[in-house]
Amino acid sequence: MKERDSTTLRRPARRRVLQQGAALGAAALAAPYVLRSAHAQSNADIAPYTQAKVNWRQAEGAEIAVAVIPASYFDNLIALGSQFEALTGVRVRFEKVPPGQIRQKAMLDLSSRTATYATSATDPMYYPLYVSNKWIDPLDTYLRDSALTDAAWFNHDDIFKAWRDADSYEGKPYAVPYDGEVTVQVYRKDLYDAKGLKAADTLDDFLKNAAAINDPGNRVYGLALRGFAGAGQNMYIYPSLFKEFGGNWFSGKKVVVNSPEAVRALDWYVDAETKYAPPAVRNWNWPDIADAFSQGTLGCYIDAHSSASVLVNPEKSKVIGKIGFARWPKGPGGKRVTSIWNWGFPINAALSEKQKKATWLFITWAASAETQARTSWKFAGPAKRTGLNRVSLWKSPDFVAMTKDIGPNFVEAALTSLEQDTDVDWRPRVPQWPAIGDTMATAIQAALVGQKKSKEALDEAQARIDQILKG
């Protein structure tokens, strides 16, 4: 008995498939034209740039490749890429690398001196590593060279000092910050008002607020902090706690991670998450927290200020208009410590002279006040950047107007945090950071999931770090 072949398409069905395939093929041919026109952000007015007493065309004809991660703040810059080409005659090729792979790919290029990427969006904790290997050029010479930089126009000091410090090592700047963030409290103003609560001023207040809001039966949790294991995830929140509890990463030249302050900070972290956070938080990174908050299931969280863009997205969020912002709560020592995270652009040391000049022109263009504005409130698309790199821009009326609907205190909280709460030694700035960050992330997670007690986890981390540093 021959089995009826279930895979043979009957004729009419086959014809339909072919027709649809042809239609799709035609659409595919048309697609590039659609894409190109979407990209031509036609505000090609270069007057604000030509004001600078710099010959923008001194590297004309060069070609550079820039690696970035998929993120709206880079997408906006990529959309303006044609303006840079029109201004300088330098061809820029952007490559979007998944965030989990960009460091590795950049390091592969830098360490083998293949000069594939002229610059890439760089994690500030990696500069000590890059500098020890002499993979990137110090930028002080570029900043001082009047042929390359019009100091008055570029106004390097206008960029947030915290970020400039984060992008420097041993006194010299190695990258220019392009986009950054601060960690702030984000809370449900309506829920707080209903219970007569105010944004927490101290860590104890923070827990008290969470306890008041916490209502797991109705799927509302008091707080959430990143739990996902990773140097840029749970090891992004913990250092603030560590510093607020008075911890110090160094004892002389030695890296110490299991001091009594460290244990206390980790205990607080574990306690807070166990009592008042959704159980899934141990796997959550900040997009997950922002999603949960936007669905109304969180009372408060501490994370990047730029997460606000998710919260005010009318397509997803249910809490628009109900959000409040505040600085980090104070620790027992009265300190507030926020992150100094920023994406900066360094210069690959393996480039040719002409390419280095072209790269520097790119960097100054991207970090200039005009471009920052054009990727923010002047941008024609829906996503407008909030992580601008200059104090003057944050204080400008355009920026304030753009952000006024996000929530009360948004600009004040973020700006004050940036100006007063930053600590450049917020995480240990050593070349071995990648391994140390990874080890600490593992230890924190072990404590968070209850696998080990805080002290035990940190002691183990210390042993492994000692081994790493000994080599």
């Binding site: 089995e3 739990g227 899934a280 796997n283 990648p434």
Partner: protein, 312 residues
Amino acid sequence: MVRDQHQPGSHNVFPAVINTRSSRKSVSDRAFALLLFLPALVTLIVTTSAPLVYLAWTSAMRIDLSMPWRSGFAGVDNYVKMGADPRFWNSLWLTLVYTASTVVLQVTLGLSLALLVLRIPRGQAALRIAAILPLVLAPVVVGLFWRTLVLSPDVGLVDVVTRALGLGSHNWLGDPQLALISVIAIHTWQWTPFAFLVILASLSSLPPDVFEAARIDRANAWQRFRHITLPLIRPALVIVVIMRTMIALSAFAAIFAATGGGPGTATEILNLYAYRTSFSELNLGYGASLAVVLLAITLAVSLVMFRVRRAR
């Protein structure tokens, strides 16, 4: 029509050749054979010898990108260090557990399901099609989907089911013990269909008359299975075991996407440990030596399995 002259199970990997020619023609024979064989061999030699040499050389060096001032020749130091490294032994143990459980599960499940499916009057085609779906998914996508859609606490599929059954909500990927079980489940989910399809095909081609004879002989179902069915599908089972073992030893993308080797080191099989050492900790020398050890283990296991296949 008689087709097969081989004795059951007597397969060499390299069987004896046809020898029907006189020695006068054997030179052109060899030339022809080499003409067929060399392009592939040369390609492989070109593409694999450089990495092999690089791997071996790097494993004998100290190359730590985060401490470039310490680089230099290390000889066998990396290997000595490995012996004293508890994280290495942990990863070895996990590799063993992971490989053994996934292979055993795949074969057992595949076999039981194949036996089951043969009894069903209709719907075999639908099952075969459903079975293909996991096989064609990219492992990295499988890991990602399971992490987010299936295993996330609260909203994930598994959690919804366990809560409905009253078993409560758990952190399937965050709890160290559960995490290992979860990644084993993911791998088994994706690859059991392979075992299922191979064994099903093997079972459906078995001659029915043998079973008739057994039934007349009053052998019960279990005896029929053990003494007739099992030996007849043994070659299929062996192939499945060999291939699945090799895949399990080099499994990377799915676990990496699902847990990254965590929580902590709870799912850090040797493959992942080597990756993390090379690319997260930037200790390239040690990472290379771990990769060499993994290669040696895989080779050893495969050789053993091929001997088993050849013996009998």
